[in-house]
């Protein structure tokens, strides 16, 4: 909440993600969450922006006028756009070039109290699942530490979905280390990528219902989600975990977040497993 009140970047992106055989969707709303913080009602140019490793490629979607919404699905676009399972929808105030060296940062719709979001999620022929989405480009030098209490143990599959978007379009591999938070036991290691959505099967690691997995990346910040899908494919759950700084309010949250991360990285002996 406190962070929400601080001045942030005045632009935002909305993710359109794919995961396995699930299609992604995003419903963009050009009306602000509150009636006092944002007054610009000029039409915006909606773009789909995806990385090809060297550049951000842009695809003009349409002009959106104030008070309208627009639903996009991954099915609406060529598969090549989702080579990294991620594209971003951006409400640009102006026409964009077809290729960009960095994500655009023109001032566009944005609020802080609360944050202006879209609905994003996944769907199949039986069900859809949602979360309230927005993403500001993550820093190139970042890290991830998150605790994951979403694994379920009935007839379903459990996944970790890792979302990263940075201003630089490079695709870089990083390690994601998996530990048991209680025993500190090293469970496994997998790869995640910048400017991508990576889906990781969690059932392969044999966690039990009282285990709290902890996921660590020293090289990449990310937004981690728990995705559960029942075997009949008609029930899905999607929610992101909190960063460790969300365990506290007041005071200096940046400092305490750094403190929490450094304690866990040291205790888990992360450096031993990095290479």
């Amino acid at each position: 909440m406190i962070a929400m009140l601080q001045r942030k970047a005045e632009f935002v992106f909305f993710p359109l993600m794919k995961s396995m055989d699930l299609e992604g969707w995003v419903n963009i709303v050009y009306f602000p969450p509150n009636n006092w913080e944002y007054l610009d009602k000029k039409p915006k140019y909606l773009y789909l922006i995806y990385p090809n490793g060297a550049k951000w490629k842009t695809v003009f979607l349409e002009k959106i006028t104030f008070n309208k919404s627009r639903l996009f699905s991954t099915q609406d676009f060529k598969e090549i756009f989702f080579d990294k399972s991620l594209a971003l929808v951006y409400p640009s105030p102006k026409i964009l070039d077809s290729e960009l060296d960095f994500l655009p940062n023109f001032k566009t719709w944005k609020t802080n109290i609360p944050a202006w979001r879209a609905s994003s999620g996944f769907k199949n022929s039986h069900a859809q699942v949602s979360y309230q989405s927005d993403i500001e480009p993550l820093p190139e030098k970042g890290s991830l530490l998150t605790f994951h209490p979403f694994i379920q143990f009935s007839k379903l599959r459990n996944y970790l979905v890792v979302l990263n978007a940075q201003s630089n379009p490079r695709i870089v591999n990083h390690s994601l280390l998996i530990f048991n938070s209680k025993s500190k036991e090293f469970i496994g290691k997998t790869q995640i990528q910048t400017n991508s959505v990576t889906t990781i099967d969690l059932d392969q690691f044999g966690f039990e219902s009282t285990d709290l997995p902890v996921f660590v990346s020293k090289g990449m910040a990310a937004i981690p989600f728990g995705l559960g899908i029942n075997l009949d494919m008609n029930l899905m759950s999607l929610e992101h975990t909190h960063p460790p700084g969300s365990f506290v309010v007041r005071g200096d949250r940046n400092k305490i977040q750094k403190q929490i991360k450094s304690k866990w990285l040291e205790t888990l002996k992360v450096d031993l497993y990095e290479n």
Binding site: V29, N35, W36, T210, L212, V248, G251, K263
Partner: protein, 273 residues
């Protein structure tokens, strides 16, 4: 040109902000040693069950889960009108994750079902070994899982507010409200065929009058509710096939962001709106 360090073009924004955010967005608790919790939503009826993922938050902050057994969590339950029902202390475990089945706590409370009702709010206050560094206070904005129709499948949603603090035995509601009514536009287009249940908590210390505007292609419907502090109102919106709706919540609350339950003929989805 600048006035008191502000660009003159920013002045209208600053004035609007002062007008609408006329008190603290989230109040500081009376003591830094206070612990804070969201007001989570519990539902327990024929259709819904609630689970809470109880984690040792202090142990996660300090990287010390070895001493979790020395730490307690106090669950405090309120009914839909925000009236205190009961509390349950859950001692720390020798494991890291405890999925608490809320129906069990309600049924074992000794309170009649009629008094409990079908839904309400609850908070989870964690014990701390000592005050946190950097003048921070611990908060639980954790995760609730909602199960529909005995499906044995939980849809998870995270906490939304730093709503209520506890210091010694005193509870204090922290979320702010203004002098002017303001709109909260649900950031989700309701689509059919589906039955939505929209759950709005009052995390302020004052009874809140709430007007809800539901807009479809054909018409606009207005509904009025009054939600006591710590209370919860769940209102229904049915959306027919190939139709859509929008919801606007008008109140003095700074954060009138609800939790949304969406049910279709054979599926469900739970998320923040």
């Amino acid at each position: 040109m600048k006035i008191k360090g502000h660009n003159i073009t920013d002045i209208p924004n600053i004035l609007r902000r002062k007008l609408y955010l006329s008190s603290a967005f989230v109040r500081r608790p009376e003591s830094q040693s206070a612990v804070i919790s969201d007001l989570f939503i519990w539902r327990s009826d024929k259709s819904w069950d609630t689970y809470f993922e109880l984690l040792d938050i202090y142990g996660l902050i300090t990287c010390d889960l070895d001493n979790s057994t020395h730490r307690d969590s106090i669950f405090k339950f309120f009914n839909r009108d925000g009236e205190f029902l009961f509390e349950k202390v859950i001692s720390g475990n020798n494991f890291a994750r405890n999925t608490v089945y809320i129906r069990n706590l309600l049924e074992n409370s000794g309170i009649e079902k009629q008094t409990l009702g079908d839904y309400g709010t609850f908070s989870v206050f964690h014990s701390i070994d000592k005050s946190l560094d950097f003048e921070s206070s611990l908060t639980d904005r954790g995760y609730c899982g909602y199960e529909h129709s005995g499906s044995n499948f939980r849809g998870y949603v995270h906490g939304n507010f730093d709503a209520i603090s506890k210091f010694e035995n005193k509870l204090e509601l922290l979320m702010g409200y203004g002098k002017l009514r303001q709109s909260y536009n649900l950031q989700h287009i309701l689509t059919g065929p589906s039955a939505y249940e929209i759950a709005l908590v009052n995390p302020t210390d004052k009874q809140q009058s709430v007007k809800v505007k539901i807009t479809t292609l054909e018409n606009e419907i207005y509904e009025n509710y009054s939600i006591p502090p710590r209370g919860l109102k769940i209102f229904n919106v049915k959306v027919l096939e190939n139709q859509s709706s929008r919801v606007k919540i008008i109140s003095k609350m700074f954060m009138a962001r609800p939790t949304v339950f969406r049910c279709t003929s054979n599926s469900m989805d739970v998320f923040h709106g």
